[in-house]
Symmetry: C2
Subunit: 675 residues, 2 copies
């Protein structure tokens, strides 16, 4: 029987000092969160108006006015509050906290007498509350506010927002469930949120309500078809009920065998399912999660841990259909994949999940953010071709440069909260075991065996040498440090206090379990060889046929025209070429280890078609970590030169997808043709 085996470490118990992630967390704190705050307050001229806070002010009766924005605009404030919570846990900031508290007060004032909380319906269409769950995101917004409340409570100890959201959750619970009104959300989120609320309140009704929403999905008659009959066909977006798989509603979730539809919705649902399975020891539900995990990861995931193969519904398509240049791979979807992975790890600490979570953390999630924290990708392609990408039919959504802000601003705050809560992905614990899932430097405090402090120092992912300094509260207490040996690692040595140990005898599910009576400053040293690896896709993946990609450690590498000139498709990597690891360049792309490999450039005659094979020129190819692509072309300077309003001082960027121009953008490819 499956059960909750371990718990992620609270971000409050970790002090991160990591050469790789600390600068990203700092960006989130000092750039992304302040910028988003200004957006929420509509203080940035020229940028798509958010109106999110003003909507709350109107709903609260503080102001007169009309609702403005997306029907799910409330969630932007919620996600920002959640990111702020994690940020405060990492680095206190009294002013920021005061401003967040004030906004929480505002949220409280916007809540209705009966606990209902949603500014769209409160301000604009109160009579239509709960009549269009398919499209209108009421439960989705509720879920995000709950997540913010739980995080804020955990990180600051303040429970005002928690109480607000409990009243809201009670309102929802009073309405929906067995013997009450039937309903499921069009966009999942409430399920995982209610389980988080349960985790801090221990109120069974939240658990039961989450279970209801999960198990009601996919039941017949189709709820959304019924709802459409009841609301007289009122549509907000004009969505059809004809594609139930878009909302993972094609079958009861326990019976689903392939991961379908909108990829963010799918992983949010799966996150809730996995959490529920853990909390209720539900083997069947775990098995469904695991089956869908396998389908996703073994047949429908990009090398970067991107998911979603088509913009049509921002969705999965079919097995092995993974086009690189018409990809969707939304940042939020990879973030959601990490949520799901981390839930699975709580039941089954296996590298099967953690390897993919690591892949997402170092590649397809953080690629969404420009290195300066100021611009964001929604879609994270594995190939861009200026002149085509972002321009031609079918490629309009695949931008070759990160734009500043989107009207649908889901990805930046999602990334912010993930990065902010990094510690809880890196570490987990139970009474006897400390799990090191991700290798994030810093000091972590565990309750395991009466208390343990672990300090991890590394230069990861630039090299594979990790030093764990383990200090138990009680000298000589026995417990296990379980260190993941990543799937990418083929050669490693493990030393305890300088003495090499036979790690193979300690291996279970991809983790080396080091069990001993620990003494202060015992040292575990893991040294992993980190050569350049060539990766091949299954031949069923048409888009990667004949291609090879380079990885080193957890990092997927990309080739840009900035390093390799024009026509990346004319470059070949011979089978026998071996990638060379170059020295760390601290001034390049915020500090990276580039890769070099001998290649061939094909040079064809001028003709469109010729019986003369192209000539071959020897070249040295250079690759950079995928997450850093698109940071050298289309710089802020290039945008300024186009007369758009950029004010670095106030982080003002009058730039969004509609304005985007590919001037200065270059080609990029992850998959290179082999020779």
């Amino acid at each position: 029987m499956i059960c909750k085996e371990n718990t992620p470490l609270s971000v409050k118990n970790v002090d991160i000092h990591d050469g790789f992630f600390t600068p990203i967390q700092d960006l989130v704190r000092h750039v992304v969160i302040p910028y988003q705050e200004k957006i929420l307050h509509d203080e940035i001229p020229g940028v798509e108006k958010s109106h999110a806070i003003e909507n709350f002010e109107i709903a609260a009766g503080d102001k007169q006015g009309e609702f403005y924005g997306m029907v799910f605009q409330d969630s932007d404030l919620a996600k920002w509050l959640e990111a702020v919570a994690y940020s405060l846990a990492v680095e206190p900031d009294a002013e920021l906290e005061a401003r967040a508290d004030a906004l929480i007060d505002l949220v409280g004032r916007a809540q209705q007498e009966d606990g209902y909380l949603n500014t769209y319906f409160t301000v604009k269409e109160p009579e239509r509350r709960w009549t269009n769950l398919m499209e209108c995101h009421e439960l989705y917004c509720a879920g995000h506010m709950i997540e913010a409340a739980v995080a804020y409570y955990e990180c600051t100890g303040k429970d005002k927002l928690l109480k607000i959201t409990c009243r809201m959750a009670d309102h929802i619970d009073n309405r929906f469930g067995p013997g009450k009104v039937r309903g499921i959300p069009g966009h999942e989120e409430i399920e995982l949120a209610l389980l988080r609320l349960y985790s801090v309140t221990k109120e069974e009704r939240y658990l039961k309500l989450a279970k209801y929403f999960i198990d009601e999905r996919g039941q017949q008659p189709d709820y959304f078809v019924e709802e459409e009959k009841q609301n007289g066909g009122w549509k907000y977006f004009g969505m059809s009920t004809k594609k139930p798989e878009y909302m993972q509603n094609q079958a009861p979730v326990r019976e689903q065998t392939t991961v379908e539809g909108h990829s963010v919705r799918a992983v949010y649902l799966l996150t809730g399912m996995a959490d529920l399975a853990a909390r209720t020891n539900d083997q069947e539900l775990f098995d469904a999660c695991d089956r869908l995990w396998d389908n996703m990861v073994e047949k429908r995931m990009y090398l970067t841990a991107g998911i979603g193969s088509t913009r049509d519904g921002e969705a999965f398509t079919i097995d092995y259909d993974l086009p690189n240049d018409t990809i969707y791979a939304e940042t939020c979807a990879s973030v959601g994949l990490c949520f799901f992975a981390n839930q699975m790890l709580q039941m089954k600490p296996s590298a099967k999940y953690a390897d993919i979570m690591e892949r997402a953390f170092y590649n397809g999630t953080i690629s969404g953010m420009q290195l300066d924290g100021k611009r964001f990708f929604y879609v994270n392609p594995l190939e861009v071709n200026p002149g085509v990408s972002g321009k031609l039919f079918g490629y309009e959504h695949v931008l070759p440069k990160r734009p500043g802000w989107y009207a649908c601003a889901c990805c930046p705050p999602n990334l912010a909260r993930m990065v902010g809560s990094l510690a809880s992905y890196a570490w987990a614990e139970n009474e006897t075991t400390i799990y090191s899932h991700l290798f994030v430097g810093g000091t972590a405090k565990f309750q395991t065996a009466g208390g343990v402090t672990v300090q991890l120092t590394s230069n990861y992912p630039w090299d594979g040498n990790l030093t764990y300094k383990v200090t138990p509260a009680t000298e000589g207490s026995t417990f296990t440090l379980a260190v993941r040996i990543p799937g990418w690692c083929k050669q490693y040595t493990l030393r305890v206090n300088g003495v090499e140990v036979d790690a193979s005898s300690m291996m279970k599910d991809g983790y080396a379990h080091i069990t001993r009576a620990w003494k202060a400053e015992d040292t575990v040293y893991l040294s992993m060889e980190m050569p350049v690896e060539k990766v091949y896709a299954n031949t069923a993946v048409r888009a990667d046929a004949g291609c090879v990609a380079l990885m080193r450690g957890p990092l997927v590498y990309a080739f840009e025209s900035a390093d390799n000139g024009e026509q990346l498709q004319a470059l070949r990597i011979p089978r026998e070429s071996v990638g060379r690891v170059l020295p760390f360049e601290k001034d390049l792309l915020n500090g990276i280890v580039p890769i070099e490999i001998d290649g061939i450039r094909l040079v064809s005659s001028g003709e469109l078609y010729s019986t003369e094979p192209p000539k071959e020129e020897k070249v040295v190819l250079r690759a950079i970590p995928y997450y850093t692509w698109g940071n050298r072309s289309g710089s802020i300077a290039a945008i300024e030169s186009k007369g758009l309003e950029i004010d670095e001082g106030t982080l003002s960027m009058a730039f969004n997808a509609d304005d985007l121009d590919d001037e200065g953008a270059g080609q990029m490819r992850v998959w290179m043709l082999e020779k």
Copy 2:
């Protein structure tokens, strides 16, 4: 100064006996034309109603009723009449001719007092005549009726339709032109048609009107913007004036440097431009045509002579953007490319044009028709992948099997008229020279040098041996037989009456000019080696990067899963492999020469991504001529088994694009990855 140097041979002067094209012409005569006739009469149950003839009956006052169908529905009848004309020239059929005569009478009755002829506006919106040239195809339909009239006159000698269309052309001429009302058509066709009308009537006003429509295009202020103001923004399709290049209206045609927009419109315009240049000795206009030809053929054309890279506007995109699986490459566009090429050949008999025309005739045009003449492709892809093609977003238009009929039924009759008038593409003449552009067997009669009969016998394109038997009307008269030596041909010998001659000394613009005093039954024997050729695309073409295609003679070859199993993308052709020509198989695909080549199949581990390179298995790959692809899967039998209504006796096929299911369809690729 450019001028009209030669004239295509009338179809009436050629008796085709060609192993390759005679069966196709027979199909057109015995299957396509009768089927289309039934469609026009709405006699085929379950098929999209045409209503084309009923529209004329209503316009004529013979019947009461409403207009039904596309705004350009009249052109279906016109194209059918044109195809019938050519068919009658090739093989008299009194009953068919009587039925066509009756329909021509009907067209005459539908014509208005003032010469106006268009059933949509006559029946439905008479007050809106000529107010929406951008969308409403009045000039396009007029042009097709003129083409039918000219063909019918040339092939049967009957001038009734010609007189009708002259009255219509006069009506148009009375309205449009310098000093009259301004106007240009949204869809070009009237230009080339007026020039054809001029060629038989010698009425200068038709030439001048054609010139007006051609030179007015692209002038400022944009006619369509002005028209939109004048008609109060009335829209038929909702087209925007914001993309003038869709209609080749981005600049005056003489100044255009790249071929843009809707590919059929573009080649129809160019056909008119080239004809006008020839008739008016207009070097500047010829140069514009030649510049656009070069851009199209050297940067925007598929190997099969398909044109149109995107379904978005059925259009050209940018140089070297030639995706194989999201291609448009409409059958009509390749047919129009042949029209254009043949016009250019009249000014400059050069293999530059004829080679591409041949490429189109043997590949991207006839691929549109199923080998049984009963089903048709609109879009001719170079790669299909069942499960994706015709199904997923961006690929919906790329069907993996030919459907039976389209609501927009432009391609089948266009193909029918091209195949019917094949003779006039194959041969051209002037007073001193006979041009053999395409190698189509049969006997042709020329006026050159007082009269010459040439009999061509060959087994082309299955081998490269051609025998011309030349018999002058006057024994010993001196003239030139100019035989194209195709660009694909690297080795050949030329014999005159059995004696090898030095062809290189006779070469001009890709034609061997054999000038002599000819005697009865003089024989020219051209023997061209026809090995399998490997073809490479320019490295700028991303879609073909790392790939090779096979050709033999004029034929492009394709690989189907029916011959090569699943996962065509996993098959590689080593650089050193040499294609083998297999014996002609008369029972395979109506008789073809298959090709075999040694290849490799990559077999990967079951993993999605692996550092293990796929294993290599030696395989023998088999290719078939591209035009025959899609004829072995999804057979009529397979459709019948799905319960759709198929009546082979009455050629009834209850099947169109909407119903299409890819069951039984296999993969197909032209470009195979190299090893």
